[in-house]
């Protein structure tokens, strides 16, 4: 099975193939543009510093200005990133009620005990219950291109940013119209400013448990530093990307991260067939590919020196 006659050429071929893949991946990855803007507001020169220093005001809005030097090819994806945020905590992740989220009204009245301490508030059941839903990301963003001092709104597309199956099958609103009535005798999560049925005032179908932002949040990140999709820029003048120019990102700063040493970032990125920018995979392929080639040469030398008994 593992005779030199098989292994040495095998290694060589695998090595070459891997190098090829690696080069391809690396080139693709390099071609992806990424723009990351930290808006945590810990530094005094940050426009969002005012939102983090007491007195903390409600609905604090800060604006981040940036310039794009070359065309940011479309479609452009807009993400928010959080660091040092443990969505992967076990108790945190389990703190939700699947039956409730699939629209079962009996669980509206008595949510699962997993949701504790966000099971009941003031004696009334919380819908959607649990820490995970309760801590939903609630910063909102607006992007403007500054053309001749005028702010021109870049339209965001908030559709289809969650898993299709989550949106269509896994999460369901109760069959009620208006949806609001289903939520009678329940209260909204403690940290939420709006109830679940009024998350998106512009689109009635994007409310309740199938709200795209909610779905994105509910899919827990695996690692403490994560990035979640917020919007896509696919429409109007920006269909082909963000043209060269000055931009301003208006952030309504609500989500506290400083207490646990977290940071918040807004990220623009475009994608390729292999997803977002990821140099690791390309480099790893290159390294392993070259290692295979080197090993095949080493083995050839060893073979020549010790004379494998195989092939005579």
């Amino acid at each position: 099975m593992l005779s030199a006659g098989v292994v040495i050429p095998g290694f060589f071929v695998i090595g070459l193939a891997f190098i090829g893949i690696g080069v391809g991946l690396l080139i693709t990855s390099r071609s992806i543009q990424v723009l990351e803007l930290d808006y945590t507001g810990t530094e005094t020169n940050s426009p969002c510093y005012k939102c983090t220093t007491p007195p903390v005001q409600n609905n604090c809005v800060c604006k981040l200005n940036f310039t794009i030097d070359t065309l940011f090819k479309g479609p452009v994806f807009f993400y928010y990133s959080l660091t040092n945020y443990f969505q992967s905590q076990r108790k945190y992740g389990a703190s939700k009620d699947y039956n409730q989220l699939s629209g079962d009204l009996t669980y509206f009245k008595s949510p699962a005990s997993d949701c504790d301490p966000y099971q009941y508030a003031n004696g009334k059941p919380i819908v959607p219950c649990g820490s995970l839903a309760n801590s939903m990301f609630n910063d909102t963003f607006k992007l403007y291109q500054i053309i001749n001092g005028q702010e021109k709104l870049v339209p965001f597309d908030g559709k289809g940013i969650a898993w299709w199956t989550d949106y269509n099958i896994k999460y369901r609103n109760p069959d009620y119209s208006p949806l609001k009535n289903a939520f009678n005798d329940t209260v909204k999560p403690v940290f939420w400013s709006k109830a679940a049925y009024e998350l998106d005032t512009s689109d009635a179908t994007n409310n309740g448990f199938v709200n795209q932002d909610f779905l994105v949040w509910m899919r827990r990140a695996a690692l403490p530093n994560f990035r979640k999709l917020y919007r896509r820029i696919t429409e109007g003048d920006y269909k082909d990307g963000l043209p060269v120019g000055n931009y301003s990102l208006e952030i309504s700063y609500n989500y506290p991260v400083i207490s646990f040493d977290g940071t918040k970032k807004a990220t623009f990125s475009n994608v390729s067939w292999m997803g977002g920018q990821n140099e690791f995979l390309g480099i790893a392929y290159l390294v392993i590919g070259s290692m295979c080639v080197v090993m095949s040469i080493v083995m050839l030398i060893v073979y020549a020196k010790f004379r494998f008994p195989d092939d005579d």
Binding site: M1, S3, I21, F86, S88, Y92, A112, L281
Partner: protein, 1117 residues
């Protein structure tokens, strides 16, 4: 029932009656003895119900569960399961409960079914009809209603329903023939005797009129021992007392043959019968592999605990800052906040234990057990070990030791019947110094009875003539052969030979032995006493009265046991001849006689009867009596018979030597004969320097000096041979007397050092050792001595006779030869083979294969579980030490049960790293695996490190793909061209997918012998994993209260980078092992690897056994 017994015991104590536990009194037909001094006391015995079943309907569940949870592994999983039930743990109790439940249920069903079969068998036995004599009539009843004291009628070919004392039979001489095949496997018919006073009973009425009591020992498991006494009351006189021995006792399970019917009285019933007492299983032997497996388990348990401790400590260190301890987004509940920190820490520790508990897999035990169980069938089905003559193949009595066969370092073999055929061929006899040789042995066969004997010295004078007659008469009379009327004299050792020499033994009739002398006249001798053969005395005698009224004692036996007791006869000539014969490797037997005067006879008879009548220490008393009677012999002559070597015995021994095993021959034979056999079987070669440690030498020098001298010789030689290439090998000959001297704890041990150590040192340097003149117990002592020497070598004992049983039981592996001397050895052995030559295949092929198979099985199991659990450990660093499982519950549960179980099981059944032909051709390959080579700590460490490395690759490979990058799905499945983020379950699934593929492919790389079923199982397992994952994520499962895996697997597969990273990670994980293998093979190949490459292993040569194993595996799955 128990109450009555208790009451009786209490009454007895109150009355102050002496309780003699050692014996019981049985009242035949439940009749009170007429004029009995002692009061009739109905004793309580169990009824004749045989209960071989372990459980009843009611106690099955509790008892079976108790039995199962006594096993440490099951108990461990039960504890884990209970912890999961009690505390809030990361994984649901199902993950460990389900496999445990599965294992427990399967075992319970298997045991329940077996027990049900036993119940059924018990029932049919207990309800089978039995005829009992009651009030002079034969009444039919059921077997289980039989009571002690009942008189039973048994007809021909019926099986005895309980242990019976024979009263009378349809044969006029009060004997009956019995076969005990089902008890000890001996198919020959044995004769049992009725007491003379009862043998005349012919009808039920007569039997019923009997007034007698039997006093006998309480039941004992020894099948061949029985001591009792029957008191027969006739006409209100003093009772007639007769002794009862094993020859009167008909055992349950034996079958009546060649006798129309018998009357017998039940003495032991039900569970007290000897057969039932023999049900107890022997103590279990554990293999070296099992021991190292347990050691590894302890290591893994330590790893598990330390992992849990590390994580718990880190968790609390990390949570020192309150923001980490309880960030705003993840508040604790009130109850948790109030809990004391110590309790919280302990709960966390338990939770980590539960999370990592899969590192010790429940399925390993199941797989190992299945491997052993199925593997033992492959040994039993091996056609090469099938013997045409016996119509039997190898027999596996213990499946636990398959791999131990590959670890043997010392082989202790019996000589007669093991190395040799135990088929005696008459070569010559020497009567009074004259040698007689049958003239036609030219082609190795003795011609028909017609051919006469060619006397070398054919001038028989009158005096010599008399000796000759006596000699042949002695041979004819001195035996215990039973000739059945229907059958002619056949096949029984001596019968043939006497036929040719002019004397023929005809039959035993009414205690008269009839022989046909050379003038075709019938001579009759009254058989008075038989002094049976035993292996301690090594001789037997008969006392007969000739028709002329002379009392004669004929004795035959080993020369060593006869010569010291001889007073006259041509001792010198015979002795010389005997020694010469011994050198030629012939077995000799000396014949002597003694004339007894009337008074001498009476005295002897008195002694014998007294000894036989003794209720206690009968054996010892008999031995004393024999010792007194068998003396002052006149030597008649000696016979020599040849016991030819078994087919391929020499070849087998040579192979064993080449395989690095030390072969010791342990025999009761004398030195010269044994040494000749050793030379013939190539145990000793011409070049072998023989060291003698015998009585002869120790008589000249002290044992101490001899030992030291030999030790010096050996050591000197070793230091020389260290330089020269061809080293001289030593052979040691030691005899029983010297051995007991060595083994005796010496008084002056402080001054002269320990003899044992010196002896072992000498033995270590000898390639072959011959121990002659061994008593059976000494054989076991030798095995024990070697077993407990400081290297703790693995020993194997092989033998065919009852005298080998002790060493077979003592050795690590006991092998019985299904020989001529009954089946005792085969019954007590771990494996039984038809011929000695099969030992080669057993050790060099089956042993070797099973060792490498189980070694890989054990190492691989630990490896794949390190790969499995270590990423979970690493993940704790990225989830705030919150015991978040990396994998979904279904994956945790099924990983060991189904995704990775079958390939390794199949591997462990059919792997052949080199072909069978190569193993057979090159026995030295056996040295490769000596001393548990594949399961030593370095190997274990290598596998564990490989597992850790792979786990790190899996985890950090996935980590770098997820961390800070947009590892997303390019949703082709979706309605819109969009990018979706992956969550933690996708992360886990990615790691798990790489894991399953890597460990399965690692096994594929290790497989040298590919059959279609290997392909089927390996690729089938991977396919099953993929299909399962698709299904598991493809449906909203109504019975789950979470749907976290919904579409996760499919989403992952829809992403290009996921595919690329899976391929990359699998390759990287397998790379180091491949490189290590290739380089090791090039730089320092083992002998097996050499053999692998000389014959390309890719050529699959399906051999018989693996055709078998294929078909069987197909059935078992």
């Amino acid at each position: 029932m128990d109450f009555s017994r208790l009451r009786r015991t209490i009454t007895r104590y109150c009355v102050g009656e002496e309780i003699w536990v050692g014996s019981r009194t049985v009242y035949i037909g439940h009749k009170e003895p007429p004029s009995c001094a002692e009061a009739y006391m109905p004793q309580h015995y169990p009824d004749n119900r045989i209960v071989s079943s372990k459980y009843t309907f009611w106690n099955f569940i509790p008892k079976n569960l108790f039995e199962q949870f006594r096993r440490i592994a099951n108990f461990y999983f039960l504890v884990i399961f209970l912890v999961q039930l009690i505390i809030d743990t990361p994984t649901s109790p199902v993950t460990s409960g389900l496999p445990l439940f599965f294992v427990i249920t399967v075992t319970a069903i298997k045991q329940g079914y077996e027990d049900w079969l036993r119940h059924k068998a018990d029932c049919s036995i207990n309800e089978c009809p039995v005829d009992v004599v009651e009030q002079g009539k034969v009444v039919r009843t059921q077997s289980h209603k039989l009571r002690v004291g009942d008189i039973v009628v048994v007809r021909e070919d019926e099986t005895f329903p309980c242990d019976l004392i024979l009263l009378s039979s349809s044969r006029y001489d009060g004997t009956c023939y019995v076969t005990t095949t089902s008890l000890d496997g001996e198919s020959s018919h044995k004769t049992y005797y009725a007491v003379p006073d009862t043998m005349a009973f012919r009808t039920e009425q007569e039997v019923d009129s009997l007034h007698a009591t039997i006093e006998c020992e309480q039941p004992q498991p020894d099948l061949y021992k029985f001591v009792g006494r029957i008191d027969i009351y006739k006409d209100k006189q003093e009772p007639v007392v007769r002794t009862l021995g094993a020859e009167n006792l008909l055992l349950r399970g034996a079958t009546l043959k060649n006798t129309q019917h018998i009357y017998a009285v039940a003495i032991y019933t039900g569970m007290e019968t000897k057969m039932a007492l023999n049900y107890q299983s022997k103590s279990q032997k554990r293999s070296a592999v099992e021991k190292s497996m347990n050691a590894f388990l302890v290591v893994y348990l330590c790893i598990l605990i330390s992992k849990a401790v590390i994580n718990t400590v880190l968790k609390y260190a990390w949570q020192w800052s309150p923001d980490r301890d309880e960030p705003w987004y993840n508040h604790r509940t009130e109850i948790e906040r109030q809990r004391h920190v110590v309790i919280r820490a302990f709960t966390d520790f338990l939770a980590f234990m539960v999370l990592f508990n899969y590192i010790i897999p429940v399925s390993m035990y199941v797989t190992v057990e299945m491997q052993k169980f199925l593997g033992s069938y492959f040994i039993a089905w091996d056609e090469e070990m099938f013997d045409e003559e016996l119509g039997q193949g190898a027999q596996v009595n213990t499946s636990d030791l398959n791999e131990e066969l590959g670890q043997v370092e010392y082989v202790f073999t019996d000589k007669t019947g093991t190395l040799t055929e135990n088929n005696m061929e008459f070569i010559e006899c020497c009567v009074d110094g004259n040698v007689y040789i049958p003239h036609a042995i030219c082609n190795g066969q003795i011609l028909s009875a017609a051919s006469s004997i060619d006397m070398i010295d054919s001038s028989p004078g009158g005096y010599r003539r008399e000796y000759e007659d006596l000699f042949f008469r002695a041979l004819c009379l001195c035996h215990t052969v039973q000739v059945k009327e229907e059958e002619t004299v056949e096949s029984i050792k001596r019968g043939i030979h006497q036929g040719k020499l002019g004397y023929t033994y005809l039959r035993l009739k009414d205690s008269y032995m009839e022989i046909l002398n050379k003038d075709d006249e019938i001579e009759r001798f009254e058989l008075l006493h038989v002094l049976n053969f035993d292996s301690v005395r090594r001789r037997m005698s008969v006392i007969v009265r000739s028709s002329s009224g002379e009392y004669l004692l004929f004795c035959k036996g080993a020369d060593s046991s006869i010569f010291p007791r001889v007073v006259s006869g041509k001792v010198e000539q015979v002795k010389a001849r005997v020694e010469q014969n011994a050198v030629e490797g012939l077995r000799t037997l000396c014949v002597a006689y003694r004339r007894l005067s009337e008074s001498e006879y009476l005295e002897a008879s008195h002694r014998l009867t007294e000894a036989k009548l003794a209720l206690q220490d009968r054996e010892q008393r008999l031995a004393q009596a024999y010792d007194i009677i068998e003396r002052e012999f006149v030597l008649l002559g000696a016979t020599a018979v040849e016991d030819r070597l078994q087919e391929k015995a020499a070849d087998t021994i040579e192979s064993l030597h080449k395989a690095g095993m030390k072969v010791w021959v342990l025999t009761g034979d004398k030195m010269e004969t044994a040494a000749a056999t050793c030379y013939a079987s190539k145990l000793f070669r011409r070049s072998t320097q023989i060291l003698e440690l015998t009585k002869k030498r120790t008589e000249e020098q002290s044992l101490h000096d001899v030992l030291f001298e030999l030790n010096r010789t050996v050591l000197r030689q070793r230091s020389i041979s260290g330089l020269s290439v061809d080293c001289l090998d030593f052979g040691l000959i030691i005899d029983g007397a010297t051995l007991s001297g060595i083994l005796k704890p010496s008084q002056e041990s402080a001054g002269h050092g320990n003899y044992r150590e010196i002896f072992l040192e000498i033995c270590r340097n000898c390639s072959a050792v011959l121990c002659c003149r061994m008593a059976p117990l000494q054989k076991a002592q030798i095995v024990k001595l070697i077993k407990s020497s400081k290297e703790h070598p693995i020993t194997l004992a092989i033998g065919d006779g009852a005298n080998d049983v002790s060493m077979i039981l003592e050795a690590h592996v006991g092998i019985g030869i299904m020989g001529k001397e009954g089946r005792q050895a085969a019954r007590n052995s771990d494996y039984a083979i038809p011929k000695f030559k099969h030992l080669k295949k057993m050790l060099l092929i089956h042993g070797h294969y099973y060792y490498i198979r189980i070694a890989e099985l054990v190492q691989y199991f630990f490896y794949k579980n390190v790969c499995f659990i270590f990423p979970q450990f690493l993940y704790q660093f990225f989830c705030g030490f919150s015991q978040q499982p990396l994998y979904d519950t279904a994956y945790l549960t099924l990983y060991n049960i189904s995704f990775t179980s079958l390939p390794i099981l199949l591997y462990s059944l059919v792997e052949q790293h080199v072909t069978m032909e190569t193993l057979k051709r090159e026995p030295s390959l056996y040295r490769d695996i000596a001393k548990n080579a594949l399961l030593r700590w370095p190997a274990f460490l290598y596998w564990t490190c490989l597992g850790v490395f792979d786990a790190v690759i899996f985890f950090f490979g996935a980590y770098f793909l997820f961390d800070n990058t947009t590892f997303t799905s390019n949703g082709q499945l979706m309605t819109t061209n969009t990018q979706m983020m992956f969550g933690n379950w996708t992360f886990g699934t990615l790691v798990f997918t790489v894991l399953v593929f890597t460990v399965t492919l690692k096994l594929a790389l290790d497989t040298h012998h590919w059959t279609w079923i290997n392909h089927f199982v390996i690729w089938g397992s991977l396919l099953f994993y993929v299909i399962f994952s698709l299904l598991w994520g493809g449906i909203i499962w109504p019975f789950l209260n979470y749907q976290r895996m919904y579409y996760v697997f499919m989403q992952m597969l829809s992403s290009g980078p996921a595919w690329l990273s899976i391929i990359l990670l699998i390759t990287v994980s397998l790379l180091p092992d491949v490189i290590k293998k290739v380089l090791c093979r090039a730089v320092c190949p083992t002998a097996s690897e050499h053999a692998q490459s000389t014959r390309p292993c890719l050529t699959v040569e399906p051999s018989t056994i693996f055709m078998l194993s294929q078909s069987s595996s197909r059935m078992s799955f």
